[in-house]
Subunit: 309 residues, 3 copies
């Protein structure tokens, strides 16, 4: 993929080489974040952060990434503060053809599936999907993979347990499509029956020959996996606690491999116990740092500035 000017909509569009290209640029940018400094390779550019659905981490992560690269940021944090989201129901096509005149790239979150792709159809500027409905969250998927690479040392030849509402949590398809590009990855999926993957996601991962199976209890594989990807299982649960078979806690991790890493896209509820924070397995806060680095890499690439670092 030639990244310059490209939209980042789905990890289905990424080859292994594409993912590795992002990681290569991320590696070169990591010191900017570690040293808490800023460079100016995007000082002539403006990013629009269009969040039709509230978000702390994704929006601030994108804004931080753009600021660390010297760029400017404008946008909105809530559809309600924008006519684009109110009763006037401006079409996303119109919004796209307007916004492209204000900013040089867009990071967009939307409560409806496919809206960033629809926006991208009409806007000539690059569009990054910051999460759409229950469809995908490709930058989260990339940062999850980058965290695995950095903290485990490899993505090939790993065994990963994913515990999540697979149906509604948009990062899951992105993560699976990313994992499918690597070799000898074995995926264990754990979720309540009613929150299994959507049919199209099953179809996609089968077509990609991802080696996956479905299990009923975290403890079935706890001693075998290299990565646990914990995530909320929230719908219809109301205030009821997460059933124990889906909960990750320190006690269960006693049976884990020494090098196991635990990830979570955050925010977490009770499915990931606070006592995991104090085990050597926790990597979910590091994940958010890798998120800034990954998004810096993507911004650098879509503006074709990787040679300026």
């Amino acid at each position: 993929m030639d990244f310059e000017g490209r939209d980042i909509l789905s990890l289905l569009d990424f080859s292994r080489e594409d993912i590795e290209k992002v990681f290569e640029v991320a590696d070169k940018l990591e010191h900017i974040v570690n040293q808490r400094t800023r460079i100016d390779i995007l000082k002539d550019k403006i990013l629009g952060t269009l969040f039709f659905q509230p978000s702390t981490r994704t929006r601030l992560s994108f804004e931080s990434a753009m600021l660390r690269l010297g760029g400017g940021v404008t946008g909105f944090a809530d559809a309600k503060v924008s006519r684009a989201g109110d009763k006037y129901k401006e079409s996303i096509a119109d919004t796209a053809r307007v916004i492209e005149n204000y900013v040089d790239a867009v990071a967009m979150r939307h409560y409806e599936d496919g809206m960033p792709a629809e926006f991208a159809k009409y806007a000539e500027i690059p569009v990054i999907n910051g999460g759409d409905g229950s469809n995908e969250h490709p930058t989260q998927g990339l940062l999850d993979l980058y965290t695995i690479k950095k903290e485990l040392g490899r993505i090939d030849d790993i065994e990963i347990l994913i515990v999540s509402d697979m149906k509604n949590e948009r990062v899951i398809p992105s993560l699976l499509y990313g994992l499918a590009k690597f070799d000898d990855v074995k995926v264990h999926l754990l979720s309540p029956e009613e929150f299994k993957l959507k049919k199209e996601v099953y179809d996609n991962i089968k077509k990609m020959k991802l080696d996956y199976n479905e299990i009923n209890n975290l403890e079935e594989v706890i001693d075998k996996v290299d990565v646990i990807y914990s995530n909320v299982i929230r719908e219809k649960r109301g205030d009821a606690p997460t059933p124990d078979q889906y909960v990750v806690n320190a006690k269960k991790l006693e049976k884990a491999k020494k090098d196991l890493i635990v990830l979570h896209p955050l925010p977490r509820l009770d499915e990931l116990s606070d006592d995991v924070d104090f085990t050597p397995h926790a990597r979910y806060f590091e994940e958010t740092k890798y998120g800034v680095i990954t998004r810096m890499a993507l911004l650098t690439l879509i503006f074709g500035r990787e040679n300026k670092i």
Copy 2:
């Protein structure tokens, strides 16, 4: 007008020379937007965007304009996130005397007529009216005129049809006051009876000797006009469609002059059909680009930096 330090509150205050001065500076800045770059002539300044009423395009357009000139931006997008708009009901005079200590100029939208002017009375910094109640929207008026100049080649000697709720849409007075400064402009006004211009606006345009008349159906003048300014006619309509006589669509434009241009301040509803997008007449998306350029010109002028471009 010496623009430096001035408030931009109403197009009534602009002479033809003032408008042309804005356009002259806009012409010099256009390449910044076309090349998607930024300069630093306002790098020492901060713009406050005070939006007491939600807006996507006007706020982002101002913020983009300031960022493209190298300036900093702070502000709020919604009165609800500001005590200034809540039950404490701080007077606009107090808000003005506070905010002027935080920023070097203000772009302000308010749901009430006259609030930017009231703010300007108390603040020593320049204030740009970003739309107040049903009163005026002078920067929209300026960008509309600039679009006409750039896309039609002239503002003198034109015939323009304006289809709008004339009473509640604040851009209409601004547009009319601007048009009145040019020569041989003929204006056709089309709106439902209950949404005609407010009396003070009639008084103003009569005093300015603007040549206008009122018509009942778009098709009466479709073959004569150089510009159609379409706009929403929304109040009391609820979900009922816009009556056909006020709708602009591709079919009606078949009878239009070859060089006719169609403008709309956006967002649009059904009064401007999507099929117009594919005719050679559509200029409403270009309008938003000219909006950034016009606002860059105004910011440059109120800070007295036109010689730094």
Copy 3:
């Protein structure tokens, strides 16, 4: 105190020397604000403004301060636009460990007492308390003291009347803790019985040997004081006017010392009459300017950049 990397949570933590250090840096930065310009000593840094409770002046003041020093800003203006504030109820500990990866310092307002301190426990970056519940508002306290120093010429040897809801207005404890560090300060407290200081605040100021007494009517001390600190007395009042004994107006000030200055953290209601604006005693708008300068000084200090000015 070595300011670099420190949290600014409470004025209890400040010695007189600390306060004077802030003022010394503020004095060096004052010309930046007076000349309406920007410098670049923090151009490599990003400030996160995390406002879990709406605010105009404090948030914009912090953002202005950071922009004037050349830094970048991201954040949120309302908990509702952040998952951090919604039904998912992410713990502040998690929010802290996430946000510290996005920004280099935080200015935080929270509706609950102690939340900035809790955040600071988990974040490695410096945290500035921008007001928490009814607990403290240390930067407001500092700017109040700085205003007294600049406008009265001294903080030692003054007599000050504070008229406020002492119980709920978080700036009052901060102001008292600050005043207690100076010599020969005499404080008169005036509030309705039900809005007296909280017990812990009484305990603290007694321990600090602050010379205070409580009075029942502003007019008891009007001819003696050097400073009146007016503030809202709002709870349970609904729309009822502030009782006259707590109201500051021009008529009452006729009996005041010639050099008396009147402060108010703003926004004001009817407890501070507009007619005071036209007396030589009013300093509450200047206060907001000193607020930017004070916050610039704090930001400079926590980043250890005071030698770069």
